[in-house]
């Protein structure tokens, strides 16, 4: 049995609480938040507290608060030499106060407030300063069904950055698709199967191999047509820049590509 205390009440904290609650060999001892209001709906399931002095003993303390608040909260914890981890992609493990045994338990996924999350689809990136602490975090992840990966701070930092590209920026491209279609009275919904298929394709194929379209084909006529249709100057800039980026990746129409492309385009690995 692994005992856990959760600190924070955002999406990550809430989804972790729900997953831990269902897991057989995890017990959540307490849920702390600065304000009780957010976690009050759970008060019949778990002891909720808003005073750090009330914290009980646990195997792992999970700080799931905003990046800026992690260091300070870890400092305020009224004990030492216990395993304290944060859940952030962008914060170093050394930002946790040094009086603790320190680690990171970073779920690489986007959480919605309402939708249920199956933790089978949530890879947990684990980092610990002391090797001995690694196994308990791995056991914690496995108990909720998550794949795990040992990831150092540099790797976690680039994963977080890459996540901005494949999640936030991709979502903004969906948004632009939404704007463009609705501006002509066409339905964005018609694009939804394509959006899903595009994401499914790279589950098996590398993005390099999956690429198609006018930019890759150097189809100047279509590119020109598209730029003419776009009215928003920023959309035009995005179209041009990403077209150039695709062409850099895939080389000229006669087919020169950099070494990275050649080396990675077949990359099919299992998680």
């Amino acid at each position: 049995m692994i005992s856990v205390v959760i600190l924070g009440a955002g999406n990550v904290a809430t989804h972790l609480f729900k997953a831990f609650e269902k897991a057989e060999n995890i017990v959540v001892n307490q849920w702390y938040n600065r304000s009780l209001k957010t976690i009050k709906p759970y008060k019949n399931k778990i002891e909720i507290i808003d005073d750090l002095a009330l914290l009980n003993d646990a195997d792992v303390y999970i700080i799931a608060v905003s990046d800026d608040a992690i260091a300070e909260l870890s400092e305020q914890l009224p004990f030492e030499n216990k395993l304290v981890v944060h859940t952030s992609g962008g914060v170093g493990v050394y930002d946790i106060d040094k009086k603790h045994k320190r680690g990171v338990f970073y779920p690489l996924q986007t959480f919605s407030k309402d939708a249920e999350m199956d933790f089978k689809s949530v890879p947990i990136c684990i980092e610990t300063i002391d090797k001995k602490d690694y196994h308990i975090l791995k056991a914690l992840a496995i108990s909720i069904g998550s794949p795990t990966k040992k990831v150092n701070s540099d790797q976690r930092r680039v994963l977080h950055l890459a996540a901005v590209f494949v999640n936030n920026f991709t979502n903004q491209l969906y948004r632009i698709g939404h704007e463009i279609t609705e501006s002509e009275g066409a339905e964005f919904d018609l694009l939804k199967p394509l959006i899903l298929e595009t994401a499914k394709k790279v589950q098996e194929l590398s993005p390099y191999m999956a690429q198609t379209g006018p930019a890759k084909r150097h189809d100047k006529k279509t590119i020109k047509k598209h730029l003419k249709i776009l009215k928003n100057e920023q959309h035009k800039d995005i179209y041009k820049l990403l077209t150039k980026s695709i062409q850099n990746t895939h080389g000229t129409s006669t087919g020169s590509a950099t070494n990275f492309e050649k080396n990675t385009h077949n990359g099919r690995k299992k998680l």
Copy 2:
């Protein structure tokens, strides 16, 4: 029973052939391609020809060739007053020679050469000059299980453009994610569940509502960190431009957004 002739041998032609073959009330009479080599593997299932003079009678002739070749091929067809359609997102219906009854049968999806495609996930955008021709194309789409939508040339043009954003450009963001992670020895595979979840999210939620992350939060500290990690100048430019685009969409941190955003962010429609 609807009889069909397919002209062309690319991904769209091949996937359509396979779907038509399975459908109960469709018969493919012939499959034409300029070179027989590509379609030879199908010669036991269907009459294959490389000579337009051999074309038989059919209810619908489907031209699924590259955009540039559509007009000329339609002109070369040795008959008139029959229903001839193309399958392109970017070509007008009037590009088909005027001796024919003309239409468009545009499958809005990305097709892989090898992977099977379930046409339930392939919306067919239909356009015809004569209203009477619409119903046979709709029946054709329904027979292979596809959702259909009446779409005029302007709408089809913007759908095709939007498809470049949500498919080609999105795939390039995946590619950049691949480059960034591998540059630090982190695994791109860790991002795959996130990629899938990002696409799934907008099946229910508008991209506006689904947005999260440092750009939307105006989290300058994280944005600065990310730009520092990025070594590739073009990746930096893409990061900056898409961050700006997100901030234009979502307004300042105090929350001003344009009318379009306010009007569409709740948009949940069914196909």
